[in-house]
Symmetry: C2
Subunit: 306 residues, 2 copies
């Protein structure tokens, strides 16, 4: 995941790579095979989720928050997969012509370009149902039924009309409008923040050793990291190139979307991202070295190049 | 609900009207108000679910199956609402230009016509999350956490890629193709059958008195009724008019969709619907008079005019 260090003796890189492989294996297990009827729908679902090598930020946050709270990764595979599946479905729908109208995602044709619009809509719909199904079904979670319900509830709220879907609705209604900084942050808090927050909370929720105060500190961490992620996304849309991004550079500006660099200037946005990173670290000051992956992840989020 | 008898002294009509009012009140309680941010999204969600007076077949099946199994309706309000919300989201997405491209639904403009395509896609997405959320949260269900998880699991499977969404994918891929009868039935078993089946099972699932054998008989009943519902839908597309239907008459034929009347002829389709109705009644032969609403409902489904 870290673009700046590709050596294999970087412990953070190895941990993240391990988490990525875990969630990719879980996704492969949980997604119906492309041989299962209706084949073209299952092909589209697998295409959107498994191919293309996403960054897997949300699954990595699940595992890293779990490690901080003393939960083994094998208990978190389906939770990590569910978060990535919700994220993938939202990308399929966001890319549709009626929404952001993007042809390129992770360096490949978007789902509605590789298949067709109707299949893309249905693949997104079916993926959402699958995310909740696997939290119901996975025995490896080892949570009692009450905790499992809390996990599902957290994911429904983070995904719904006062979470991710609501944020996307506000985003689309903001095109061409002048938002101020607090309105822009409120939008991102829902659009990307809600799912990032859910990743951290759902990763740590089933911990016996995590006190409500610790969960609250992790929640604060996730909010800073979630916002930093979006600020850096806006920065990359200005300074990166299409090949590195895997999606069209400059598309925010082209679509007349409000961004942090537009409101604050590029340099101030970069300072703001760093400030959010330090605030995120501050939320972890009472945690031991098992929180190091969360710390490194916060750094990665503001240093990444795609 | 019965189009052929509008007298208020028809007990079936009164029971059904009571169930409809119950679920409408539950939907109004569970859907975020149109004053909640993002307002336009919540307006669209409410427009699609509450306005327009749907038949509420799935909620009525939930309550009627519950009554058969000795469950009070107040324990079923959120389950009935969840089924209707999943149904409503599927209608929003099915009506989109990339899918069936319908402008009229329940006699009003479809959601993407009344709002816009992006809002309609997101309203559907957010509704799906809401359906699962309310089963997590409603205390009136009085189910233990294990049963609640089973309810959510049943709804995820019925909604997903080997349920409703999968059926719609097969349907869209069948346009202009020659399906035989068993292929047509397999498609409808997923597209509308899965959710009708889930309505009956979820209505009776939390019953102490319902044996596995009784649940199986209810499941058989729901499969006959689900298929009868679709056969009658196809018949109405041929013999009814746009005003009565609330959607364009003849749209199946215009869209070159395979139908029962096309494959079997109109008269044989009407005979088939009646035969399925009698098979449904046969599945209820071991039940007492608390199953009468299910019996009447089966009759209504093959007698309805819209």
């Amino acid at each position: 995941m870290p673009a700046t260090d590709t050596s294999t003796d970087n412990p953070f890189k190895q941990v993240v790579e391990n988490y990525r492989q875990r969630v990719d294996a879980a996704l492969d297990r949980w997604l119906p095979s492309a041989d299962t009827t209706p084949k073209h729908l299952h092909e589209a679902m697998r295409y959107a989720v498994i191919g293309g090598g996403g960054k897997r930020v949300r699954p990595v946050l699940v595992y890293a928050a779990g490690a901080t709270a003393g939960i083994n990764p094998e208990k978190l595979d389906s939770i990590a997969a569910a978060l990535e599946i919700i994220h993938a479905y939202s990308l399929i729908h966001d890319d549709l012509p009626a929404m952001d109208d993007d042809d390129l995602r992770r360096g490949r044709p978007t789902c509605h370009k590789a298949f067709d619009e109707a299949t893309a809509i249905l693949a997104g719909d079916a993926l959402q149902a699958l995310a909740f199904e696997i939290i119901c079904e996975d025995e490896a979670i080892e949570a009692n039924a009450e905790t499992r319900l809390k996990l599902i509830q957290a994911l429904t709220i983070a995904s719904g009309s006062i979470g991710m879907a609501g944020g996307q609705a506000i985003d689309l209604h903001s095109v061409g409008k002048k938002l101020n900084l607090s309105q822009l942050e409120a939008m991102h808090k829902l659009k990307t923040g809600a799912l990032i927050r859910a990743s951290v909370i759902m990763g740590a929720m089933n911990s016996a050793e995590c006190t409500p105060q610790m969960l609250d500190q992790l929640d604060q961490y996730s909010q800073h990291v979630g916002l930093a992620f979006q600020v850096q996304d806006d920065i990359l849309d200005v300074i990166s190139d299409t090949e590195t991004l895997g999606k069209p550079q400059g598309s925010d500006i082209e679509q007349n979307k409000p961004t942090f660099p537009e409101l604050m200037g590029l340099e101030a946005s970069q300072d703001y991202a760093l400030q959010l990173h330090h605030q995120a670290l501050d939320c972890l000051k009472d945690f031991d070295d098992r929180a190091d992956t969360l710390r490194d992840l916060s750094a990665y989020i503001v240093e990444r190049r795609n």
